[in-house]
Amino acid sequence: MSAPFDPHTAAQTPDQAVLTRLFSTPPGWGRLSAVNHSVIGIRFIVASLVFFVIGGLLAMLLRAQLAMPGNPFLDHEAYNQIFTMHGTVMMFLFAIPLIEGLALYFIPKFLGARDLAFPRLSAFGFWCYVFGGAILLASLFLGVAPNAGWFMYTPLSSGEYTPGINSDIWLLGVTFVEVSAIAFGIELVVTVLKVRAAGMSLSRMPLFGWYILVTAAMMVVGFPPLILGSVLLEMERAFGWPFFEVARGGDPLLWAHLFWLFGHPEVYIIFLPAAGAVSMMIPTFARRPIIGYTWLVAAVIATGVLSFGLWVHHMFTVGIPHLALLLFSAASMLVAVPTAIQFFAWLATLWHGRPVRRLPMLYLFGVLFVFVLGGLTGVMLALVPFNWQAHDTHFVVAHLHYVLIGGFVFPLLAAAHYWLPLISGRAPSERVGQWAFWLIFVGFNVTFLNMHLTGLVGMPRRVYTYTAGLGWEWLNLVSTIGSFVLTIGFALFFLDLLMQVYAGRRTAHNPWQAGTLEWSLTHPPANYNFAALVPVASREPLWDQPGLVEDIHHGRGYLARTRNDWQETLGVDAISGKPDQIILLPGPSYLPFITAALLGVFFVGFLFGQYLLALFGAGAALLAALRWAWHNGLPQDHPDQDAGSGLSLPLHSQVHDAPGWWGMVIGLLVNGTFYISLLFGYLYLWAVAPGWPPAGYIDINLFWPLVTALFAVLGAWTCRWAVARGVDGKSPALALAAALLLGLLGTAGFAGQALIGLPHPTTHAYAAVTTFLLGYCGLHTLLTGVFAGYVLLRWRAGYVSARRSLELRVITLWALYSAGVTLISLGLIHGLPTLLGMAT
């Protein structure tokens, strides 16, 4: 029997040399222009690990302070800032970005692609994350870090009780980081659906693809409520618009709802990708395909949806009627079922396989033990009477750490040992890795297991000190000792990784004998991933398709030949995986960095009350984004191109379901969720806040609202008219010019209604939220006009033709959405008072 083909020993072909050049990142300052998914993914991973170390050091300070009663090590203000930043750093700057980094790095490799659908969007997301994280981190060193807890409850975080810029830093810094998360969500949904190997139908997709698809969709739907809440709270703090202030018609519980609408799905957003990594590793070490693939996919989708119905279990003590508590209690228990299905599928796979004991398996044992304990205490906390007793105690702290470390950190420690040979080309040290595992495992349980008891005997969370004699002394001391053991374990883990990367022995090709596509690549992979995009016919192609590695290396597949210096990858039908287009990927560009930096000017300007500077930053960022978009697409039509293996395909800018179209659809889903959250806020305040709306605020005059609505609807219609003319090869100029004019007129209509038809927004929450709603619609109508004018310019420059009508269809989607929200908003503002008999 001949030895298996090893791509490391094979010579590079001329086409591979060209691919290496095309996908390379410029050196020096040119690194700021990097867009390659491997480079951006690694940057995300490294940056998130730096934040993990920072968050860990903050935790050590907290544990040192609580080691003994009456400890003078930290004062209350420092303690408040440190625990707030510990939670914020771990959730927003470590966990989510680490997931983003892993997905950005691995998804194209798992799916058999050369890059992501929108490489520059990922680069933009990375810079937003770095700049937002830098704002948050700088505040820590300047002593003005956020200090109201990582969920920033109002009124504690409002201007009255936190008058400094501490809360503003959280609201603006986290929102900046969330721009990155939204970019990630759009990027990954479109990539998983459209950028896969030929033949990789939905049922042949690696499970990690499903997990990331669901996670990215959850981010698309889950983050907008928090972004809205942050914007509203910042407007209250900056301009006095009283969304959360009871005296002027607001309600502080609105913040809690908006925060936890994001906050609980966030737990699953963190857990699911880590569980996806487990689902990829278990079959390799069990040496058999996963059992219950369909059940796992159904369980992941069910977890994703059900997790949005649990948020009120964080608010069980705020005075909600019993029946509502029970609804959320029931839903909270329900979500444990699909989670358990995943565990049973993993256990069944191990049971029916021939498991091998390797280092990652040790960490997977940690997952099974720690996460199951966290899940069980989660079910306890879902029970209302128990929750009332344990609420805001150290029991909750212990529970959340069991869930997050068991469900996120342990799986990713396993994943690090599993995939690092692929990334670095070096083999891990089993012995050091085992020492690190046992120190982490023991240290973690010593820290947090008895912390359940600390909570049950009554110690509240977030207190900077306590008096002796309450029975908390030894419990806290043990936890502190455990935390130091845990830290030593993590230090050893990082040392092991560094030793592996810089001094490890070379790994063999596919050292674990895994079956998924990423292991067909060289270790480390080339910057273009696959020399040829091979068709796949199974979930574990390396097990079921002999000769695949050799085929890839020798260019026996699609797009093996380069042309026109284009960076190409395949686009496929979302369901069947049938190739339907060639996607031309953009090369390195400074524009993502510049756009993110200008957005940073907006956020920093706003933070320091320099609103003209902020306005300049926002405007400049929009111009940079338009400049960025200008060179997308092609200035002339092209015939279908030879994709290899006898297949000819159109270029992506000449097909209907190009990634850009999908990107706009998912972007509108983000936008729509933001809007629905806003409607929820509007209706919530209307229903809950006393004396809402105040007498004399409702004045129904339908003339201008009807005229404005007409402008918006006509704007959408003219965009559709432009599409009809464009695809017929006729000039869309008149239609686009009309859409531009209607957009400007509609904006004027909204501005007039907000400025003339309403009392000042600082006077009452009704005026504030209604003005905000009108502003939202006005901004969308304005952007419809701007986009129409922009596409008009691009049509004149030759970027739009009958075959290349993508941009016309994309702005039409936007215009239709704008018209839709206009009709709903104006109907609500003017129809609801009439319906309730409040109109004067």
């Binding site: 049922s203 369909t294 159904a298 069910a302 019993h322 029946l323 039908d573 979302a574 049938k578």
Partner: protein, 122 residues
Amino acid sequence: MRPALFSILMLLRMGAGLLVWASAFVMLYAGHALACQWLGPLPDVQLLNPVTGVLAALALLHMVALGALGVLWWRYPARAAEDEPPRTHRFRQRTEGLLLVVSVVSLIWLAIPLLVTPPCVA
């Protein structure tokens, strides 16, 4: 039908049961909250009362919708995409069915507290 729209519809159909469940959840929670806000606390109300009746009707309505989806799943399976492997088509059909079962069970589970707890007691 355009391939993109077909794909979106097929993906939505796979998870249609859960979308109905989500609608039920929102309507039951919002309906209950609005009813209690409007009527105020009802400490002495019996299990048979108008609020519970309306909420139970909403739950039943969603159960009927899930039943209709079940009939659709059984009688009119989702169409196969062009060149879709039969195994993928079966996978979509099975996943759709599993998610329908999850949705039905979840809705029944959610409706139990509704039927055994008086509303508007804080």
